[in-house]
């Protein structure tokens, strides 16, 4: 989003577009070929198969199933809760994110890039880790409850956080604030400040300037960010399941519940389709909006739009905002890390005098198979397995994402792209459980018998990572001014070498961002992996979940320890790309 603008205004393309030898349609189809085959085989085919199978199990026709689902009060309640919590989460996220976006957009201050990097971390954390982080801060044995209990000598934790709506909302805000910060902040930072200055000289006061000039100009970017946050909240799984508990059900958790616990596949499939329709509608709307964002008005290089924090008012505002952001985004993570090295309870059989103390036991215990479990896998092995899967996912996602991004960037307004653009986002809006089940029932016979293949999990992860990869690469490719390619051509570079010497180096950073997304998603993916992973080859989240679902302080501690490791690995990845000064999570 950034780099192009800092080099000057976007070039007018039309006049200089090189007419390639292949007709536009043919080259477009060629680019879409691999991504389309991939989506057809590993998304649509499993999806249709599982939906078909689910419906065939029902005694009635599928229309009746829909009607039943739609008139059922419990399903309607689930649906409205899904919408309602997503809406509420989105509004709170905007309330916190917009002032932050203003701060990042208009002011230059020390530690800004560090803060930007920090805000990006929650977004790539696995839901399990986030849930663990919030429980270690606010759960019954979390820091705050422990502190209150110690202070007031209570025997029960005073704050009931887990299994509340607050927990869901807080976690969603924690996850998605960065989307508002980056999407709106980035657009805002390139908005010509002379527009508001002009309004001021024409007699508008601050409020009028904000409501009549700034907000209307920002509207598309705010709408796009809000829509994306809404989509993520709408389909959120881990947060609702673990932090919301059994009291709260959204479409996504209901699909899981109906599938895993009740084996009511027809209803699960019906819900999956309802969810899919909603996300499809939202993504179509969303991709339209982002297209509008890519041809904005009066964009200026960042150099001209940013000021220093020069007076006390702005400094106090900045200090408050920064404290709020750091508080919201880092305390749960710090709580997780510190909790994972603290022993609060004595071990079994040593119930006498015990004081909480620092310990590395949870980490040490990770490699001990105390229960002699058949499927015990030492965490080091799980980490190796996860990294292996992540590596394959990166390769697959980049190989498929690059041609797709190329097609989207080079031929922005063609009909086929208007269809493909929202289609790419669909895996994000599809229930991970449905997807996992689909893989199991669809990829079970030759030539697509992948049930035992080590490729199965990377394929599922690639499906989830694909939209992120495409959306990181597209703006970078779009930002390369066509003239650079033309200059290379005129200087004697045939098309292949133009790509090799111009496009590839210029999108190098975006490639790295995309790879990091694929990496983080693969490391953290839980929903689909839980269904398709073979027990002897678990990934880190699966092992964490195993620890969480077993009772006892040691298991809980080990879950925290492993979560901390996963957090550190993803954070290291995020920090690495921020160090390369790509302050972007890409364009979504």
């Amino acid at each position: 989003m950034d780099s192009s603008l800092d080099r000057g205004s976007p070039a007018i393309t039309g006049m200089w577009e090189y007419t390639p030898k292949l007709p536009k349609f043919a080259s477009l189809m060629l680019l879409w070929l691999a991504p389309l085959i991939f989506l057809a085989l590993f998304y649509f085919f499993p999806l249709i198969k599982i939906l078909g199978l689910s419906f065939s199990r029902s005694d009635t026709g599928w229309t009746e199933l829909f009607i039943e689902a739609l008139i059922s009060t419990s399903i309607r309640r689930v649906f409205w809760f899904t919408v309602w919590q997503a809406l509420l989460s989105t509004l709170i996220t905007l309330a916190i994110g917009l002032p932050g976006a203003y701060l990042f957009a208009r002011y230059e201050f020390r530690g800004k890039s560090m803060l930007m990097a920090l805000t990006g971390i929650p977004f790539v954390l696995p839901a399990l880790v986030v849930a663990a982080a919030f429980t270690s801060l606010l759960g019954p044995r979390g820091w705050i409850n422990l502190a209150l209990m110690a202070m007031f000598n209570l025997s029960q934790p005073p704050i009931q956080f887990i299994n509340t709506l607050t927990a869901i909302l807080l976690a969603h805000v924690f996850y998605n604030t960065v989307i508002v910060l980056r999407m709106v902040g980035d657009f805002w930072s390139h908005l010509d400040p002379r527009l508001t200055q002009a309004a001021r000289t024409l007699g508008a006061n601050r409020w009028q300037t904000l409501t009549r000039i700034t907000l209307p100009l920002l509207a598309p970017s705010i709408a796009a960010a809000a829509l994306l946050v809404f989509i993520f909240n709408f389909t959120s799984f881990g947060v609702i399941l673990i932090l919301g508990g059994p009291r709260f059900a959204t479409l996504e958790t209901e699909i899981y519940y109906q599938t895993i616990s009740l084996f009511n596949l027809p209803l699960a499939a019906t819900l999956a389709i309802i969810q899919l329709m909603c996300t499809l509608a939202l993504t179509v709307f969303y991709t339209r909006l982002t297209l509008r964002l890519s041809t904005p008005i009066n964009l200026r290089s960042r150099r001209y739009t940013q000021r220093r924090l020069s007076n006390w008012k702005s400094r106090i505002l900045a200090a408050c905002l920064i404290t709020l952001l750091i508080g919201l985004l880092t305390t749960p993570l710090i709580a997780l890390a510190t909790r994972s090295i603290t022993r609060l309870e004595p071990e079994l059989g040593q119930e006498t005098l015990f004081t909480p103390s620092l310990t590395l036991d949870f980490y040490r215990e990770l490699s001990v198979n105390r229960t002699s479990s058949l499927f015990y896998v030492p965490p080091t092995t799980a980490i190796a397995i996860s990294l292996g899967y992540a590596g394959v996912t990166i390769l697959l996602a980049l190989a498929l994402g690059l041609p797709a991004a190329w097609a989207l960037a080079r031929y922005p307004h063609t009909p086929i792209n208007k269809i493909m653009d929202p289609l790419l986002m669909l895996p994000l809006g599809t229930s991970a459980v449905t997807l996992g089940l689909g893989f199991i029932v669809a990829l079970n016979r030759p030539p697509l018998d992948l049930r035992t293949s080590i490729l199965l999990i990377p394929l599922a992860h690639t499906l989830v990572a694909f939209p992120f990869v495409v959306r990181s690469l597209t703006p970078a490719l779009r930002s390369i001014r066509p003239r650079l390619r033309h200059a290379a051509m005129v200087l004697g570079a045939p098309p292949g070498r133009v790509f090799r010497f111009i496009d590839l180096p210029l999108i190098g950073r975006a490639l790295l961002v995309a790879a990091t997304f694929a990496f983080a998603i693969s490391l953290g993916e839980f929903g689909a992996t839980a269904l398709i992973a073979r027990p002897e080859y678990p990934t880190i989240p699966i092992v964490i979940y195993r620890y969480i679902s077993q009772p006892g302080a040691m298991n809980y501690g080990q879950a925290l320890a492993l979560s901390t490791i996963l957090m550190l690995v993803t954070t290291a990845g995020m920090m690495a790309i921020e160090r390369l000064r790509i302050a972007d999570i890409g364009e979504f």
Binding site: M15, R483, V490
Partner: protein, 349 residues
């Protein structure tokens, strides 16, 4: 060498070029001059092969090059905004074209330093192109285009974004460099000063079409049309009439009747050149009017003189003694050089 024949190109509904014909002679600098949006840049992208014409043919030494892809045409193109590769330093930018033709390392290095010397950037090889000033970037872009010794160099508004003082100097440098290496070049600009200063010949364009081709002197002395005259900044245009009195042709103008040699008859549009006057009484005809406005233009002073029927703009040498604003002025006029006749046009007032 290069021949453009009846080239047409449209983008959607918009006609960018509607049948353009001209040629480029070996060793000459040809300027394409015209207002913005007249299709100059499109013309360059067609010649470079970045676009395909809808109609017409482009030949190089008699052979069509329409099917030759841009990277095999051997032409150089210097872009308006330079289009320097931001991920390469000065050396790498200049070496790119040489690298593409597979020049061996040693020869490549020699050529780059030779060309850096030519454009006066000998110490800049390792500089990051993003840190260069506008003038320096322009030189790097020129060096990059020249390095592979293009058969034809095209420059698209190369001085468009530099300020006036710098432009004067760069124009001078550019002229020297192109002449030193006897480079055939097409120079696109909307600025007549640039075109006249640099070019051996000028192609004057109106939107989508060629208006006039000639040396700068020819075009300046005799713009072929009202459009050309307007574009060159001539503003004294009036309706008039050519009458024949006993075999002598006279033209009726708002400032009097003058004898003229012309094939036109009846209604005409008259252009009165601003530079056809003199205060020293060199000419046979003298005019009287009221001096109503003066604007100082450096070596020239532009004066608006109001006559009974019209107001006209004339340029006097700044040294000449103009009377006070508002007073009568009498000056010599050279009708032979000063009056040009065109087709009658209704819109001229």
């Amino acid at each position: 060498m290069l021949q453009i024949e009846n080239i047409a190109k449209r983008f959607g509904d918009k006609v960018a070029l509607g049948g353009v014909t001209f040629d480029v002679i070996d060793g000459e600098i040809l300027a394409i001059l015209g207002p913005s949006g007249c299709g100059k840049s499109t013309l360059l992208s067609l010649i470079a092969g970045l676009e395909h014409p809808d109609q017409g043919i482009i030949t190089w030494q008699g052979e069509s090059i329409l099917d030759v892809p841009p990277h095999r045409r051997g032409f150089g193109l210097m872009f308006q905004d330079y289009a320097l590769f931001p991920h390469m330093n000065v050396y790498e930018n200049i070496a790119f074209g040489l690298h593409m033709v597979g020049l061996p390392q040693e020869a490549l290095q020699g050529r780059v330093s030779e060309i850096l010397d030519l454009v006066g950037l000998a110490d800049f090889a390792n500089r990051d192109v993003n840190t260069l000033s506008g003038g320096e970037q322009q030189r790097v872009a020129l060096a990059r285009a020249l390095a592979p010794k293009p058969r034809l160099l095209m420059l698209d508004e190369p001085l468009g974004s530099v300020d006036r003082t710098l432009r004067e100097r760069l124009l001078f440098d550019l002229h020297r460099i192109l002449q030193d290496i006897h480079q055939t070049a097409i120079y696109v600009t909307h600025d007549q000063e640039e075109a006249f200063a640099l070019a051996d010949r000028v192609v004057l364009m109106r939107p989508g079409q060629v208006e006039q081709i000639g040396t700068p002197q020819e075009i300046y002395r005799r713009p072929v049309s009202i459009f050309a005259a307007n574009f060159l900044g001539f503003t004294n245009l009036f309706p008039g009439e050519v009458i024949d009195i006993k075999g002598n042709e006279l033209v009726k103008t708002p400032i009097g009747e003058f004898p003229i040699t012309t094939k036109r008859k009846g209604k005409v549009t008259i252009l009165i050149r601003p530079d056809s006057v003199d205060l020293d009484g060199k000419w046979d005809y003298s005019l009287r009017g009221r001096l109503t406005d003066i604007s100082f233009r450096g070596t020239l002073t532009r004066a608006v003189i109001t006559f009974e029927q019209a107001s006209l703009t004339f340029d006097f040498p700044t040294q000449s003694k103009l009377p006070a604003l508002g007073s009568e002025i009498e000056f010599g006029f050279d009708p032979e050089h000063g009056i040009l006749l065109y087709e009658p046009e209704n819109k001229i007032t």
